[in-house]
């Protein structure tokens, strides 16, 4: 059951759009910085496969400039 955290850098001017897109994907918790163009993101999935698929979906978002992994955890089922 992977839990991963990332820093998501939006394309300039599209922070709100990225935030909405991430939330609508599900399995994502997002906290925007108040004074910088960046989002803190935590993903919570059931399996490694699900995690990979979610990551692919996130990376395909047009409002995303860069996704940087910060930490990864795996908890028992």
């Amino acid at each position: 059951m992977p839990i991963k955290s990332y820093l998501a850098h939006p394309i300039t001017g599209r922070k709100e759009e990225l935030m909405t897109a991430l939330i609508s994907l599900g399995q994502c918790e997002v906290i925007p910085a108040e004074n910088q163009n960046i989002l803190a993101l935590v993903t919570d999935t059931q399996t490694e496969k699900e995690d990979e698929i979610l990551k692919e979906k996130i990376e395909a978002l047009s409002s995303l400039k860069l996704l940087a992994l910060v930490s990864g955890f795996n908890t028992p089922q």
């Binding site: 059951m1 839990i3 991963k4 955290s5 990332y6 820093l7 918790e29 906290i31 925007p32 910085a33 108040e34 004074n35 910088q36 960046i38 803190a40 993101l41 935590v42 919570d44 910060v70 930490s71 955890f73 908890t75 028992p76």
Partner: protein, 775 residues
């Protein structure tokens, strides 16, 4: 089982989010995630939110603590606080996580036959009182001492002062603010005759330029720095970083100017030279409101025990000052400061432009300096010559490091020479204290005794036989701990330490008293901008942990001073504050009534006619001005601020063949001072688990040192082994290494030098000579 897995998962998700936020804080100085605060709040929680100040730095952010079923479960920024406007830094919103630490001190511990034995608190306090009395009976009043903190609350500092100076009758009281703020105090007193900044944080909203002098605000005062960045983005305000090391503040600034350690004195004088040469002096301001003085030179460094120094100020005139500055032309200063002529002229032009508002900020870089008082004076000179002072967006602003270095250490006066109003050397101040404390005036000694460094030297010499250390960790934070740790282990001194957690200082104690943390007791703090903030007790302390104020009172009563300490356990904070307020009555330092502080997120003194005074000495804002002019520096008898002639003098120890590197020490954003609290907050500890020694990449390359390799840093005092850090958090100049001091497992203060400013007695942690080698 389901619950425990779910809870664990939810905990891991929180940790993951905190890791991301901490990583972001590492990359973006001053970044703020306000809504993170709400995420920690349990669903359907019925929280009772109580206001107070943050436990950590001197910014004094307002916090709201959410409690449920007697436990603190959430922290968020107080949107009503004009200091932080609802924002907090990473330390701020994680602060309550430390109080649940497994190794929390919950009972008193008394050392018996070399082992700590859990002891009822009342019995431990009996022992403390009897040992104090025994020491006084055998060796006199000056054989006992108390060492307190800029983290002590106002009532704690007040009762400590009343016990030591009013009840016992010794001036053996000093505090750790001596290590961080004493040069700011003597700077203010010598230039203006009154302590603490004239401006306030609202200056940030008005200034065109912020010049930071040896001050890494992005890590040490992150919320204020985020306010500066906001003004940079919104109004195009500029930040100029003037420092000896490239930090996160430098990279976020518009311009970074590096200087050779100690030469800030010369550069400040060169700026004044340029201001005069270019005709940028605000002549009418200087003529009406300033005088000129010089003091003694070649004043020493305090390296020897029982060092004494008294300055001898002498009036001079503008012409003499101008002649003195001839040694400080940009061309001459550039040769040894390593600051280019162009950059010196650039700085001078910023200050000299009459159409630009400038605030200068500084903290430890200028204060922890063997000429700390002088460099404070010299930055005031720049603002006085240009008349850029005591107005919104214009002024010099000395930032404090601790949450109540101003409120407690400086205003209550927990220094050897201080009283709650004035100083022990002044008869009228002693009379006032004696009257309010209801003690004979001759009980308060008229001579100061030991400042912090000298206090621990006296312990080493055997001149102090009892010391009570409260809310501080000197065996990590003092300079040259290689001398003072063995000193505190000597049998000649009975050591009492009251703290919340075990530390290297509690390790040498004969009695450890379990202290209540911040929100487990009521209190008041005073921040950098003269703002006094009150909070009420929010949760119970565990076990027998008790408010320090109350432990002081209990010991005072056991020593026979019941009549001087008649406070009730339930209302002692209020009773003590009301007694203390009497010392500051009047337009120059009036404190807000407690009723006001209970309602509002702090008030700035002087609090006059129901109003905070945001800019002192300016008749438009300050009701204490009485000279019918625009400005009145009423701290001085002639109403004039002093422009000081202070030269450049070298550091006491400089790199040489044997010890070829400068050692600079300091802090990191994740940890509060010696780390006794923040290293118990998992996410902060994970983000910065240990100290390190930073190298310039060229030095690392020439020495063949790789990142992470263990390096032994050695001075004439001691050594410390740490992993090398190259091109990571900060970048020292070539020939310099930097080490943060938060890590009790890597005690860099075994290496530092206990030299100090002869006027302020504040040690210099920023400059000594070391050698480095692979461990």
């Amino acid at each position: 089982m389901y619950d425990s897995v779910t809870n664990r998962r939810s905990f891991i998700k929180k940790m993951a989010m905190l890791s991301a936020i901490t990583a972001a804080a590492s990359m973006f100085p001053g970044i703020v995630f306000a809504s993170e605060q709400e995420k920690g709040i349990p669903e359907n929680a019925n929280l009772d939110w109580k206001k107070g100040p943050c436990r950590f730095c001197g910014v004094g952010c307002g916090i709201l603590v959410g409690t449920e079923n007697g436990k603190a479960v959430a922290v968020k920024g107080d949107p009503n606080s004009s200091v932080n406007k609802g924002l907090l830094c990473v330390k701020g919103y994680h602060q309550i996580m430390c109080i649940q630490s497994k190794d929390r001190l919950k009972t008193a511990l008394v050392k018996k036959n070399g082992k700590y034995v859990e002891t009822p608190l009342s019995e431990a306090l009996d022992l403390v009182a009897s040992k104090m009395k025994e020491s006084i009976a055998q060796n006199g009043k000056d054989s006992v001492a108390m060492y307190t903190s800029g983290q002590s609350t106002i009532p704690e500092g007040y009762i400590a002062s009343k016990l030591m100076k009013g009840a016992i009758g010794t001036n053996n009281l000093d505090c750790n603010a001596r290590l961080c703020m004493a040069s700011a105090v003597t700077g203010f007193l010598t230039s203006f005759g009154a302590d603490e900044p004239m401006g306030c944080y609202e200056d940030i909203d008005h200034a065109d330029y912020f010049v930071t002098w040896g001050n890494n605000m992005a890590e040490m005062h992150p919320v204020l720095f985020s306010r500066m960045l906001e003004q940079k983005a919104k109004r195009g305000a500029k930040i100029i970083d003037f420092a000896t090391r490239t930090t996160r503040s430098s990279t976020a600034s518009d311009k970074s100017i590096l200087f050779e350690p100690q030469t800030d004195l010369a550069v400040a004088n060169a700026i004044c030279y340029e201001i005069i040469q270019n005709g940028w002096v605000n002549k009418s301001f200087v003529e009406k409101h300033c005088s000129f003085s010089k003091g003694l030179t070649n004043i020493g460094y305090g390296l020897e025990d029982k060092f004494k120094f008294t300055d001898k100020p002498e009036k001079i005139d503008f012409e003499a000052y101008k002649v003195f500055l001839e040694d400080y032309s940009p061309e001459k200063v550039a040769k040894y400061s390593k600051v280019s002529v162009k950059d010196i002229k650039y700085l001078a032009a910023i200050y000299g432009d009459p159409n630009k508002k400038v605030v200068s900020y500084w903290c430890m870089g200028m204060n922890q300096h063997t000429r700390g008082t002088w460099i404070n004076n010299l930055v005031y000179n720049i603002h006085l010559l240009t008349g850029k002072i005591s107005q919104p967006g214009n002024g010099p602003f000395s930032l404090t490091g601790q949450p109540s270095a101003c409120g407690t250490a400086r205003e209550v006066g927990t220094f050897t020479h201080k009283l709650p109003h004035g100083v022990v050397m002044n008869e009228k101040d002693r009379e006032m204290a004696a009257k309010i404390w209801k003690v004979p005036v001759d009980r308060i000694p008229s001579k100061p005794t030991y400042h912090a460094t000298e206090m621990f030297r006296a312990v080493d010499r055997g001149d102090i036989n009892f010391i009570w250390v409260q809310a501080t960790n000197p065996l990590v934070s003092l300079p040259k701990t290689s001398r003072y740790r063995p000193a505190m282990e000597k049998k000649s001194c009975f050591v009492v330490v009251s703290d919340v957690f075990p530390t290297p200082t509690t390790d040498v104690a004969d009695v450890i008293l379990p202290a209540a943390w911040h929100i487990e007791k009521g209190g008041l703090y005073g921040n950098s901008e003269r703002r006094t903030q009150y909070w009420q007790k929010m949760v119970d302390a565990p076990g027998e942990a008790t408010a320090d104020t109350w432990m002081f009172i209990e010991v005072a009563r056991r020593m026979g001073f019941e009549d001087l300490f008649p406070y009730s356990k339930e209302n002692h904070v209020e009773e003590i504050y009301n007694e203390y307020r009497q010392f500051h009555e009047g337009a120059k330092h009036g404190m807000a009534p407690l009723e006001v502080l209970k309602k509002e997120s702090g008030a700035i003194w002087p609090y006059v006619n129901g109003k905070s005074t945001q800019w002192r000495y300016n008749a438009k804002y300050d009701p204490a001005c009485s000279n019918d002019e625009d400005f009145h520096f009423y701290g001085k008898p002639d109403g004039r601020a002093v422009i000081w002639q202070r030269p450049f003098e070298d550091a006491p120890e400089k790199p040489d063949q044997e010890y070829p590197f400068w050692l600079n020490t300091g802090r990191v954003v994740e940890h509060w001072h010696t780390g006794s609290m923040t290293r118990r907050i998992p996410v902060l500890h994970q983000a910065m688990p240990n100290a390190y020694v930073e190298f310039h990449p060229d030095d690392a390359k020439s020495l063949g040192i790789r990142n992470g390799e263990n390096i032994k840093v050695t001075s004439r005092r001691g050594s410390c082994t740490l992993p090398a850090s190259i091109n990571e958090r900060g970048l020292p100049t070539k020939g310099q290494v930097f080490v943060p001091f938060f890590d009790e497992n890597m005690l860099i203060n075994d290496v530092t030098l206990d030299s100090f400013c002869p006027i302020s007695k504040e040690p210099d942690y920023k400059k000594c000579a070391v050698k480095v080698e692979r461990a």
